[in-house]
């Protein structure tokens, strides 16, 4: 337990809203939280797949090592992430 008081969780001041109905601003924020969580799960799955692949081929690695993706896998994941964000935002392009 830290001896320090916790950092504030939210910035002071009114949160800006942009839509006539601010519920839409709230929904956009919720959607992005959900998308982030989805990506975190996807990245975890990629790491587990990498680890599992080593398991089945017998090339056993310490879990802490296998859970760190090699650079080429990280690059593949980054491409996947960018494509995911483009798809997520694509409906806005129809506006």
């Amino acid at each position: 337990m830290s001896r320090l008081p916790p950092l504030p969780e939210r910035a002071r001041g009114a949160r800006p809203t942009f839509f006539d109905d601010p519920a839409i601003d709230t929904l956009v924020a919720m959607l992005l939280e959900l998308a982030q969580e989805h990506y975190v799960a996807r990245a975890r799955l990629a790491a587990l797949e990498h680890w599992a692949a080593h398991e089945v081929t017998g090339a056993r690695l310490p879990y802490s090592e296998a859970y760190r993706l090699p650079p080429e896998e990280e690059a593949r994941l980054a491409d996947m992430r960018a494509a995911f964000v483009r798809r997520l935002m694509a409906p806005i392009e129809q506006v």
Binding site: P8, R12, Q36, Y67, A82
Partner: protein
Amino acid sequence: MTRHVAHDLALAPTRDETAAQDFVSTLRAHVLNDMAASMKARYEARVAPRMAPGADGRAILAAMRHEPYFRFYSAVRVKAQEMVWASVRPTVERDAERLAARAAELSADRTRAEGTLRLDPELPIPRNVSALDVHLMPGNYHFDGGDGDLRAGALYENGLSVFSFGLMGESLDDIGCSIALWLKLRHPEFRPADILDLGCSVGHQTLPWKRAYPDARVTGLDVASPCLRYAHARAQALGLTAHFLQADATAVPLPDQSQDLVFSSMFLHELPVEDIRAVMREAWRLLRPGGLMLHYELPPNEALSAYDGFYLDWDSHFNAEPFYQGYRDLVPADEVARAGFDRARYFHAAIPSLGWYGEEAVRAAARASGTIGSDHVGRLADGVLWFVYGAWK
């Protein structure tokens, strides 16, 4: 993409935390590159034809606020900004004590560097810092939980790594590195012995000056004690001797004519106009004859199209930077002259990002006249150019 902090004050995020940060970086890159381009195309097709001749950035904002695309762009950008800090805060909190202990070790290790830290617990925090959370950063830059607390510095540096999606270099110092290289190439005869960085935060743009001029005494100044603790430890970690001082840039506790270069980076636009003028007067006072005042800043409205002015001023309205637009309404040459500098010795330049364009582009800029001429100037997006201005004393 995100360049996670890698020096000795690096946090220890979990894989999930790193993934959450990577997502935010990618989201911001999409907003500031792809969505920004789409928004401009919509403006030109749908809004510009009905704007009155001579409409300025404020008029464009009034018109764009009704555009559905602007609303989505802005809602996503605000949320992405909040997610920047939220994605690093848990790691900072968890690592706070380890970070404080590591900082104390680094400070004591004089074999790495011989920097100093001078805090002033009695310093009044100016209202432009104490009364708001700039950049929507919870707690702002000065939130101090007591001795050894450097979390605001850690939150800022790690958040900036996420925020800038790789555009600010390996050590978040592309601005300082690009400008220092440009200055050395353009003025090889200039060899500053004393360099002062005003509003230095975590010192990420302070240290490039030590690299560029190794014999100089380099000092970073800020009002925020946790950022200065972090800046000092960070400099020690990187093996660069720099000195950090808690003080207000409008009243610097250093002697007249004690500096050769007074620099700031993205600092003036955080100040009310009267403080900007006080800072420039201080620069004049602090400089020796032949010294240089140099500011990296947002380009002024007078140098930009109305649309680019509208685009940059988004932060003033929606990112807790209330002085940003007022700053950009000023004419830098006028302000420099008002502070006592000779207007004829004013200059400005757009300097290519060293990391994005490479050294040859900076060399070409050092040979060129000081034109702006690109909508990439001052805009954090792919292909950024850094805008600087200043004057010789």
